[in-house]
C-alpha cells in the first residue's frame, strides 16, 4: 500500500480532496478504493457546469466486476473533469492521487467530515481488523 499524500484530505467513502490555490477542489479516489475495485474499464464523469450536492452522486467508476458510485465529498459546481479517463480509465489504478484525478469543483460549502492523512490511515487500519 502506498503512502498517503500529506497534502490531501480523505473521506470514509475513500475519496481524496486537494485544495487548489484558486479555491477549487480536486477530487479522486484513494489507492484503497482502486485496489478494491480492480482494473477499471470505464468512468462515467459529470458534465462541466453540473451542480453536485455534498454526499450526492458525482461519478461512477466501473470495473469488470462492479460499478461503484463516487459521491461528492463537498457540494459545488463541476468546473473540470479528467477527459483522459475516457480512453484510459486505468490511470485511476496506476496513479490514483495524480493522473487519476476525476473531477475539479468550485465548492459552495465546506468539506463535511474530511479527514487528514493520519485519521484516514487509522480508519483504514480499523477496516482491516
Amino acid at each position: 500500500m502506498s503512502e498517503l499524500p500529506g497534502d490531501l484530505k480523505y473521506t470514509k467513502e475513500h475519496e481524496w480532496l486537494r485544495q487548489e490555490e484558486d479555491g477549487s477542489v480536486t477530487i479522486g479516489v484513494t489507492d484503497h478504493a482502486q485496489s478494491a475495485l480492480g482494473d477499471l474499464v470505464y468512468v462515467e464523469l459529470p458534465e462541466v457546469g453540473q451542480d453536485v450536492e455534498c454526499g450526492g452522486d458525482m461519478a461512477v467508476v466501473e470495473s469488470v466486476k462492479a460499478a461503484s458510485d463516487v459521491y461528492a465529498p463537498i457540494g459545488g459546481t463541476v468546473i473540470q473533469v479528467n477527459e483522459d479517463l475516457a480512453d484510459d480509465p486505468e490511470k485511476i489504478n496506476a496513479d490514483p492521487y495524480g493522473d487519476g484525478w476525476i473531477v475539479r469543483l468550485q465548492p459552495s460549502g465546506d468539506a463535511g467530515d474530511a479527514m487528514d492523512p493520519d485519521a484516514y490511515q487509522a480508519f483504514l487500519d480499523e477496516l482491516d481488523e
Binding site: V41, Y42, E44, E47, E62, V64, K65, A66, A67, D69
Partner: protein, 457 residues
C-alpha cells in the same frame, strides 16, 4: 441438466441433514397473515391425458383459418429448418447457458444475432433481446432518460402511428418513474404524423419515438422527424419492423445524425404467431450510449491462450451487480426465439428477407386495390404504405369480421376501439403467405359479407 425427482425418503433425509422438520418450516419467515391456505378459484389439477386432450381441442380452434391480421404480429413463412434446428435439446431445453466456459455455441449464436440486428438497423450495438416489442419501448424510453444527459425532462413524444398497446405497456412499466407519453398529431388525410401541427408547450421532450412503418402501415417522414427531434434536444427512438428493414432506410441513417435507439418486435423473424407469444424484443443503439442499454450483451474477445471466444459483457450495468442503479431489472433474454430468428435470417439472407418484404408489400397493395373497389369500402390514407393498409367500411366492423370468421377468414384488426376518430376502420395485412387465390377469396367473402349484413338490417 435432466429432471431428477425426489422420493419421500430422500426428502426426509435432506431435511434431517439440515435439521428442518418439514419443507414448510423452511418458509416460516413469511408472516402468517400473508399465507394463502386455499386457491379457491383454481380448479383441480388435470391428468396428462386430460390436459393433452384439452390443449389439442383448443389448438384445433385456431387451425384452418386464413389470417389477414397484422397489427404488430405477422404471419410469415418459417422454413422448416428453423425449428428443426431450434428444437434440438441443446437449444430448446438448456437452462441459462450463458457461462463462457460452458456455452460458446449459444454465445456465438447470440453474437451473430446481434451482428445481424446492427446490420438491419444501421446502429452500432445490439443487445441479446428483450421480452417483446411493447416492453422494448418502455426500456428504450427509460434508456433515453438516462442517456440524454442534457435533458432533465421525462416527457416522451410519440409519433401518431405508434402502436397503442405499446404506449399503454410503456405507461404501465414506467409509471412510478414519472415518464409521460404524449401523442403527436396525425394528419387525417395522409395517415402520417403532422409535424406542422406540432407545438412544444413547456418542457422540451427527452425523447421522440417514431414507429416505421406506423401502426397503420403508413410510411412516416423519418428524416424530417429525426432532425426535428434532435433540434429539440431529444433522443430519437425508432420502433421498427425487422422484415421492413430489408427494404426501408435503416434507422441509423435517418436524418442528419441517425436514430439513437432502435427497438421493436422481432416476431416476424421466424417466430410463429402462437396466440401472442413468446415473441422477442429488438434493441440496438449508438455506441456512445451503449452503457445505458439494458439487457444482456455478448461480446467477442480472446482467452488466456489468445484464442477467440464469446462472453457476456458490460455486465456492470445489470442488476446482479449494479442493483437498484442497474439499467433495468431484466437479466435475461428470449434465447430460444433469438436462436430461431438467427437461423431464419441466415437461411433467408438479405436477399431472401428483401423478397419476403417486397412480396408482402405487393400482396397488400393488390388486396387493397381489390377491396377498395367494393362498394361501401374505401382506402383511408394517402401516404405510401408497407404491408398493411387501413380501410373504412360503411358500417360497423365487428359484425362484418364475424361473418368472415364464420368462413374461416380472419379479416383484419378492428381499429374502432383504439381509434374511434377513424370511424369504421379496419387494418388489413397480406404477407407473402397470401397467394392471389387467397386475396380473391377474401375479396369475394368480404363483398358477400357486406351484401349479407346489409340484407339483415
Amino acid at each position: 441438466m435432466p429432471f431428477i425427482p425426489h422420493t419421500d425418503d430422500e426428502v426426509q433425509e435432506m431435511l434431517s441433514a439440515i435439521g428442518a422438520s418439514s419443507i414448510d418450516e423452511l418458509f416460516d419467515e413469511i408472516p402468517r397473515d400473508l399465507l394463502i391456505s386455499n386457491l379457491d378459484g383454481v380448479p383441480a389439477a388435470l391428468s396428462e391425458m386430460e390436459i393433452s386432450r384439452l390443449m389439442h381441442a383448443r389448438a384445433a380452434e385456431d387451425c384452418g383459418v386464413v389470417c389477414f391480421i397484422g397489427a404488430g404480429a405477422y404471419e410469415h413463412h418459417i422454413p422448416t429448418a428453423v425449428w428443426d434446428i431450434a428444437t434440438r435439446g441443446e437449444f430448446y431445453s438448456a437452462y441459462t447457458p450463458y457461462q463462457a466456459e460452458a456455452s460458446q455455441g449459444t454465445l456465438q449464436t447470440i453474437y451473430e444475432y446481434q451482428t445481424m440486428i446492427t446490420s438491419l438497423t444501421g446502429l452500432d450495438v445490439s443487445n441479446a433481446s428483450l421480452y417483446d416489442g411493447a416492453s422494448g419501448l418502455a426500456e428504450a424510453a427509460l434508456m433515453a432518460v438516462r442517456a440524454n444527459r442534457k435533458s432533465k425532462s421525462k416527457r416522451v413524444l410519440l409519433a401518431s402511428g405508434v402502436n397503442a398497446t405499446y404506449r399503454k405497456v410503456a405507461q404501465a412499466i414506467t409509471a412510478s418513474q414519472g415518464l409521460t407519453f404524449e401523442i403527436m398529431p396525425l394528419d387525417a388525410a395522409s395517415g402520417i404524423t403532422d409535424l406542422s401541427k406540432m407545438k412544444i408547450d413547456g418542457e422540451p421532450p427527452v425523447a421522440v419515438v417514431i414507429q416505421q412503418p406506423s401502426f397503420f402501415g403508413t410510411l412516416e417522414q423519418v428524416d424530417a422527424l429525426t432532425d426535428w427531434a434532435h433540434e429539440q434536444g431529444a433522443l430519437l427512438i425508432a420502433i421498427v419492423n425487422p422484415t421492413s428493414l430489408a427494404v426501408l432506410k435503416a434507422p441509423g441513417n435517418w436524418g442528419a445524425e441517425g436514430a439513437d435507439i432502435a427497438c421493436g418486435e422481432g416476431q416476424p423473424l421466424g417466430v410463429p404467431l402462437s396466440s401472442g407469444g413468446p415473441y422477442f424484443g429488438i434493441m440496438a443503439c449508438k455506441e456512445k450510449i451503449v452503457r445505458q442499454m439494458p439487457g444482456r450483451i455478448v461480446g467477442r474477445t480472446t482467452d488466456l491462450d489468445g484464442k477467440p471466444g464469446f462472453t457476456l459483457t458490460l455486465q456492470a450495468r445489470e442488476q446482479h451487480i449494479r442493483r437498484s442503479k442497474a439499467t433495468s431489472n431484466i437479466c435475461t433474454n428470449q434465447g430460444l426465439m433469438v436462436t430461431a430468428a438467427t437461423i431464419y435470417m441466415s437461411l433467408l439472407g438479405p436477399r431472401g428477407l428483401r423478397r419476403v418484404a417486397l412480396t408482402s408489400v405487393r400482396q397488400t397493395a393488390k388486396l387493397a386495390a381489390m377491396i377498395s373497389a367494393i362498394e361501401g369500402i374505401e382506402k383511408v390514407f394517402s401516404a405510401p404504405h408497407f404491408h398493411e393498409v387501413v380501410l373504412r367500411l360503411d358500417r360497423p366492423v365487428g359484425p362484418v369480421l364475424e361473418i368472415l370468421a364464420a368462413n374461416n377468414i380472419l379479416g383484419g384488426f378492428d381499429l374502432t376501439n383504439d381509434y374511434p376518430e377513424l370511424g369504421h376502420a379496419l387494418l388489413v395485412c397480406a404477407t407473402e403467405t397470401k397467394t392471389d387465390a387467397d386475396l380473391e377469396l377474401y375479396a369475394a367473402a368480404l363483398e358477400k359479407a357486406l351484401h349479407d349484413s346489409q340484407a339483415k338490417t
